[in-house]
Symmetry: C2
Subunit: 232 residues, 2 copies
């Protein structure tokens, strides 16, 4: 019998809109392991639905009796529990992908947020928008409309991704000939924009754009089937 | 008998001033492997001295009959030839440290150069300064004096190093409990500034500063003995 995996996953104004970068990295890690799972739609204010996990954010993974919170901890859990074909790896590999996780969260995500802030607000469920605006504006110290500066955000992203572009000149994927953890971390963040925004984050033809399109097709096109704002 | 390793190493206005970030990463990799070597002082215009290597830059490593050029290729060569205690590693580890190399070269080094451009010029041998100025000014499209913006450079470096700072909150070294390739790549670039400039690149007390001081002491203080402009 297949293992019953359940992933609590952020949903938006259309329940089929799934755009959390942290949920996407886990979805890709699950696809990498060939694990089937049920995605449970969750919204920012459903704090009660996660009480069992003693946590207030998604992703949350339930693997039978096991409950795992935090996207990176889930990726690590998957490697420990389903060791074939590592996503993060151990030792030096693990330590280096942990640094890349911080790079994605500290340097990539802010540039993307600056590009798509109001697109994100529009993708969030109407009942969640007050919460979303309030928490993000407290973090940035300005309104979402002030924070949103797409040209500046894309320029910043272009600079931040220079090392990634260099790497992709000789590698099909960040982690080599096949995708693994580093790819899923960056891809998750780019799916965030891909799902909620009609803007192109990087120029067509950019090695990062070509890589993103390859990533849409890996694991039987797991991500290519995602509903985006272009579809609704 | 010990292997006769020889490293061609950039020297400055005082022959003992050794400040190339690319040479420093190799020096640390050699120390990591416990390999003794002779450092041969080289200057930018000594192109003839490297003809045997069919190369025009340092580091160049001679290991008996073997000649290896390019700092990262040398690190890889050391791993292949002296496999105990990997510096770069293989597979995922290698691919991830390759990405970090690009990060150091694309994002860290420009911020440091902006901070120490004229200090560097002063550290270079007087006979090499014309060459140094010409090649660097062609690269930047402005004079070294215009390019030098220490406050901006340090601010840029502070932002760029945010992911490194996060990692060091829980790790003694970038590569974990002990230093390895990632540490040597970043450390090499910071030694560049440490040797030629009296400016502090990062604030005292910053996790990156604490890590840098730890790095000065590893491998029997291999780097702590380096002559700096403070000493002459």
């Amino acid at each position: 019998m297949a293992v019953a995996l359940k992933l609590y996953d952020l949903s938006g104004r259309d329940e089929r809109l799934r755009f959390s970068p942290f949920c996407w990295r886990v979805r890709m890690a699950l696809a990498h392991k060939g694990l089937e799972f049920t995605a449970v739609a969750w919204r920012f204010l459903d704090k009660q639905a996660l009480e069992f996990a003693d946590y207030d954010k998604v992703p949350v993974l339930c693997d039978g009796e096991q409950v795992v919170t935090d996207s990176f901890a889930i990726m690590r859990y998957l490697d420990k529990t389903y060791p074939e074909s590592p996503v993060l790896g151990e030792g030096l590999s693990y330590q280096r992908v942990l640094l890349f996780k911080y790079f994605v969260e500290r340097s990539v995500n802010p540039a993307i947020f600056r590009t798509i802030a109001t697109d994100l607000l529009a993708a969030v469920h109407p009942d969640d928008r007050g919460y979303f605006r309030e928490t993000r504006e407290a973090r940035f110290g300005c309104t979402l409309e002030e924070f949103q500066q797409p040209e500046q955000g894309k320029k910043q992203l272009h600079q931040v991704l220079a090392p990634v572009r260099d790497l992709l000149a000789d590698s099909a994927f960040l982690d080599g000939d096949a995708p693994a953890g580093s790819d899923y971390l960056l891809f998750g963040s780019m799916m965030w924009a891909h799902v909620v925004s009609k803007q192109a984050l990087v120029e067509p033809g950019d090695p990062v754009d070509k890589w993103f399109k390859r990533m849409l097709n890996v694991h039987d096109g797991a991500a290519s089937q995602a509903l985006t704002v272009r579809d609704i």
